[in-house]
Amino acid sequence: MRLTEEPLDLDALITGSGDARSGALVVFGGTVRNHHEGRGVTHLNYSAYAPLGEKLIAAIERETLARFKVHHCRVVHRTGALGIGEAAIYAVVRAAHRREAFAAAQYAVDRVKHEVPVWKEEFYSDGGSAFVEGCCIAHAEKGVRSIFPDHHSVHRGASKKWI
């Protein structure tokens, strides 16, 4: 399970990934912060489309292993209601050396953030909520690419489209 409503267990992710060939262990954790674009944030709600999300994260892990020649890559993402400071995502990478481990972890996290069907809804201290606007999922139509910026901003209902 790479998408789960349960709190993420970092100890289990690390313990279960031991590899005698690896001299580097890199962990990235994304935690819920209390602000976004100048507004106070009280909590988040993450929703996901699991059938595609599980498949895509597994594919990203495999592609990271092949691309960076690392020994282990695992990414998990939390769903449901998360409070400030709770972990939303962990990526755990083991490799022979630190350079490829750092690069692989960044690559895997970037791809999960940009491609996996997970949506963040922010709840604000001044009332209300909004879905954070993100990246179009790459789909099967040839030549299509996203014009959404890498930096996720709050959804304002703008008409951005495939080009």
Partner: protein, 81 residues
């Protein structure tokens, strides 16, 4: 024929709920479904160009032919992490 559309993220809010049964003419494709959705919920229509559609664990193109009875997922731009 009818298909079931499961709306995720902001699309559920813009369509007034997460699940909708949509009637279509036989031979309709995903593109035709999106036209119907946009006509029924104009605010949803504004974000449909940036949405992907999936059947099960597969993203399907706008040209995908619908047979009726499918359950489709409407996936707006993603914002995980």
């Amino acid at each position: 024929m009818e298909v079931i559309v499961d709306c995720y993220g902001v699309t559920a809010r813009l369509a007034g709920g997460p699940e909708h049964v949509i009637g279509l003419t036989p031979g309709a494709r995903i593109a035709d479904l999106l036209v119907v959705l946009g006509a029924r919920w104009p605010e949803l229509g504004k974000v449909l160009p940036g949405c992907a559609c999936a059947v099960g664990d597969t993203v399907v193109p706008r040209t995908w032919p619908l047979a009726g009875g499918e359950r489709l997922a409407l996936l707006p731009p993603v914002s995980g992490g």
